[in-house]
């Protein structure tokens, strides 16, 4: 409705402020921010370093809380949840993709992808099926027994994406997912994110410094000095 692309909002920020305290100095990062992301939307967030892009992702995924304002994601008002409920919310609704993949080095690709499923009621057989399915989606069928250090950066990030989607969350948050990758691998990852958005209906919020990455999004927002400015608006297919 009030979302630019017309779908139901998966994310709604209202009057959100975030101030970090460093010793006694208060560092205002976000001030009175409003943001709506529609279900099924692919949003890119750009902006200078330190502008608060990661902070927005943290607020949206409930690993940080705003100093003021309301954060509603997938219909849930995060301000009303305690730590345990926030953990359950993340497990259920949010898939994380990090710049440096953040795979657990001592676990195989299979075991890394399986982690979020340990938080569900699925039995071992069902978990195995899901893990193999998503490893297939990201094109790493034959790599399930590899450890992260035996994979290339692009492959590691694909394992991380498999881990992000294995429990079928509606929202993917990606913080510079191609930041550590060469151009070819970056293209693969962006293709994959686009496919997850189109074919599997995942809403994606991606922070990036790379204009070529931002081109994949329906909408690009620039964050500067606490203000969001819309720069590009493409029609959704």
């Amino acid at each position: 409705m009030d979302s630019p692309t017309g779908g139901r909002p998966i994310i709604a920020l209202r009057g959100v402020s975030k101030t970090y305290k460093r010793d006694t100095i208060e560092v205002p990062v976000l001030a009175q921010l409003d943001l709506d992301v529609a279900e099924g939307e692919f949003l890119a967030l750009m902006g200078p370093s330190g502008s608060g892009k990661s902070t927005i992702l943290n607020l949206v995924s409930g690993i940080d809380s705003p100093t003021a304002g309301r954060v509603v994601v997938a219909g849930v008002d995060l301000g009303s949840l305690d730590q345990a409920a926030l953990a359950a919310f993340r497990a259920r609704h949010v898939g994380f993709i990090f710049q440096s993949y953040n795979l657990i080095p001592v676990l195989t690709a299979f075991q890394n992808v399986e982690l979020p499923l340990l938080l569900t009621g699925l039995d071992r057989r069902q978990r195995k099926q899901h893990v193999l399915d998503v490893l297939g989606i990201v094109g790493l069928h034959g790599r399930s027994e590899h450890y992260p250090r035996q994979l290339s950066g692009g492959q590691e990030q694909r394992v991380a994406i498999a881990r992000a989607i294995v429990s079928d969350p509606s929202l993917l948050v990606a913080d510079e997912p191609t930041g550590d990758l060469d151009a070819a691998s970056a293209t693969e990852i962006l293709d994959l994110l686009g496919r997850l958005n189109r074919e599997f209906g995942k809403s994606v919020v991606m922070v990036t410094h790379d204009p070529r990455a931002a081109e994949r999004a329906h909408r690009v927002l620039h964050l500067d000095k606490g203000v969001l400015v819309e720069s590009v608006q493409r029609d959704r297919p």
């Binding site: 990661s54 902070t55 943290n58 995924s61 690993i63 940080d64 730590q83 345990a84 953990a87 359950a88 919310f89 993340r90 497990a91 259920r92 949010v94 994380f96 990090f98 440096s100 953040n102 657990i104 080095p105 001592v106 676990l107 075991q111 982690l115 979020p116 340990l118 938080l119 881990r163």
Partner: protein, 389 residues
């Protein structure tokens, strides 16, 4: 909700040097604990095995040990005829008047070291009253002769105690004509000879104790009542096995107390090691922990996982410690029993219960050493830890 245990195992393997060093510290604590318990247990078991449950030992009332006791020949004769006492094939009461003295003997192979040994005067009835004891080599001493038999532990521990050797005590030379096997009990550390020959040699006129075979162990209270009722006898009776059990308690308690003190001191160091290792683990996996929390693992799953890791780490130490202590099982040693002032030989005895106690202690060390690091991990602020990289 639980993180897989392979996660912890692999992390321990990846950090194997640290793991082994920490586990080594735990292993030492567990080994000392296990050895202490095995020592105390071996000592108690030796003395407990020394008596029989159907024998009664009669001492002068008020004395806790044979060393401090004394019974006149007359009293011994009266008590032996008590109706509670079983009779032998010859119709005579199964009663043994005994005389115990301590003799200082020189250790074999070390002329400057010596120790007290119990010398017990008995008569030919002794093997009838103590049927678990048998001659191993040679023969029994003959009445009225300057002959002795010795327990199996003595020959290699003291000069003059080997078969055929001569032993000087009470101003006379005694020939060792036999050795006996008392099944590892305290008697194995004694020298036995003819009581009637010992009395004049050691300048004694009274018995130390009287050992009786009871028709029925349940008859003890009645026997005691009769002893008490006759003030001339001035004697008290208890079950022989109970008597030796009580003899072991004081020293066993001291062994345990000293050993456990050592264990506690060492454990403090080992816990510090575990604490350090786990803090290092938590510190180096900061981002990993944040990632798990971001994925939706609740803080208590992180807490549990690090506790599991700490316990696993210490369990490795527990197993190593038990393995370290294992070869000592059955090894023999000797100590002066504080209740009888004589040296008793006994063996370290490792039991499944003692090993289980050692493993339990390692788990405990893991829980204590893991708690603060695990809590620190679980309380990690996610967004900060993710930034820290």
């Amino acid at each position: 909700m639980r993180l897989p245990i392979q996660y912890n195992l692999r992390n321990l393997v990846v950090r194997r040097t640290m793991t082994l060093m920490t586990a080594g510290g735990i292993a030492l604590v567990v080994a000392v604990l296990v050895l202490t318990l095995a020592l105390a247990h071996g000592f108690s078991a030796t003395l407990v095995a020394t008596g029989r449950p159907d024998n009664a030992i009669v001492l002068r009332s008020g004395s806790d040990s044979e060393m401090m006791s004394g019974l006149t020949r007359e009293a011994a004769r009266v008590i032996a005829s008590d109706p509670a006492v079983a009779r032998g094939a010859d119709g005579e009461p199964l009663a043994l008047s005994e005389m115990v003295v301590l003799v200082n003997l020189v250790r074999r192979g070390n002329p400057t070291a010596s120790s007290n040994v119990s010398v017990r005067g008995v008569d030919a009835r002794v093997l009838e009253l103590r049927p678990d004891i048998g001659l191993r080599e040679g023969r029994l001493f003959r009445a009225g002769m300057d002959e002795v038999v010795v327990g199996r532990n003595l020959g290699r521990r003291f000069e003059g105690c080997g078969l055929g050797e001569k032993l000087r005590m009470g101003g006379r030379d005694w020939t060792v004509v036999g050795t006996f096997d008392a099944g590892g009990s305290g008697f194995d550390s004694e020298i036995w000879g003819d009581a009637e020959a010992f009395l004049p040699a050691f300048d004694r006129s009274v018995w130390s104790s009287l050992t009786l075979r009871l028709k029925d162990p349940g008859a003890l209270p009645a026997l005691e009542a009769r002893l008490e009722a006759d003030p001339r006898l001035h004697a008290t009776a208890r079950i022989e096995q109970e008597y030796y059990r009580a003899q072991s308690q004081q020293l066993a308690a001291v062994i345990r107390a000293l050993g456990l003190f050592l264990v506690v001191v060492m454990a403090a160091g080992a816990i510090f090691g575990a604490l350090n290792t786990m803090y290092a683990a938590v510190g180096s996996r900061s981002r990993e922990i944040a990632t798990l929390l971001a994925l939706g693992f609740p803080p208590r799953a992180i807490l549990a996982s690090f506790m599991v890791e700490s316990v696993l780490l210490c369990l490795i130490g527990g197993v190593l410690g038990c393995l370290l202590a294992l070869p000592v099982h059955g090894m023999s040693t000797g100590t002066t029993n504080w209740s009888s002032f004589s040296e008793v030989a006994f063996e370290f005895r490792l039991t499944p219960g003692i090993l289980a106690t050692g493993m339990l202690a390692s788990v405990l060390l893991g829980l204590v050493g893991g708690w603060f690091p695990a809590r620190a991990a679980a309380r990690r602020p996610v967004s900060e830890a993710l930034r820290a990289g």
